[in-house]
Symmetry: C2
Subunit: 124 residues, 2 copies
């Protein structure tokens, strides 16, 4: 496989990995109301890059699922839609956080076995 092909495939699979955690990451940061771009900056600061074209539809979806609430704030130089987690969203955040902890435990176990196998079969 060519390097470019590998990089493209890696990009696709790594994106799948990130996509799965976006809902959890987004809910976790909206216990205080934020507008879209502020949320993108905040996630990026903590190491999670997400594009506007991905985040904005996600925010609208989460609002239609009643996990977020939003309102226009017109105090600043231009009106901005602020998003805040809803009571149902808080409950979802709790459930997803528990599932996330469970999955990281499982993956730690699987990757540990995997690296042990790697050591004992290096000649393969």
């Amino acid at each position: 496989m060519q390097t470019q092909e590998f990089d493209e495939l890696y990009g696709k699979v790594a994106q799948e990995l990130r996509r799965g955690i976006l809902v959890l990451a987004t809910l976790s940061q909206l216990k205080e109301a934020k507008y879209g771009y502020a949320l993108i900056s905040s996630l990026a600061e903590h190491g999670l890059e997400i594009e506007q074209g991905t985040l904005y539809p996600l925010l609208r979806r989460l609002e239609s699922q009643e996990l977020l609430q939003s309102e226009w704030n017109v105090d600043g130089s231009r009106p901005r839609r602020y998003y805040l987690i809803s009571p149902t969203g808080l409950e979802m955040l709790g459930a997803l956080t528990a599932e996330w902890r469970n999955l990281t435990t499982v993956m730690d176990r699987l990757l540990e076995i995997s690296s042990t196998e790697g050591e004992s079969h290096e000649s393969h």
Copy 2:
């Protein structure tokens, strides 16, 4: 929101979370050749439930992407297709494992901030 509605939504979002890690989990367990059902059992033993209808198409996809190799083994009572990680797959496993470690670090940070905010704003 009704409990049943919440449970359905949770099921959907939690599945997205799991789907993202399936490629990583699958590659990690195929440093030794396994047939499909043995892989399902092995993942389930470590706490990751995956259905045949999800895993079998994934195995075929990963083979078509040259991340896995497969061959029929006819020694047993019935022929079985065994899957094994390819050299490219091993490289992908390394890259994805690094990205996974990165994402867990990011999420730990985000969830920690989130729970601190939760404490200081409990009255909301």
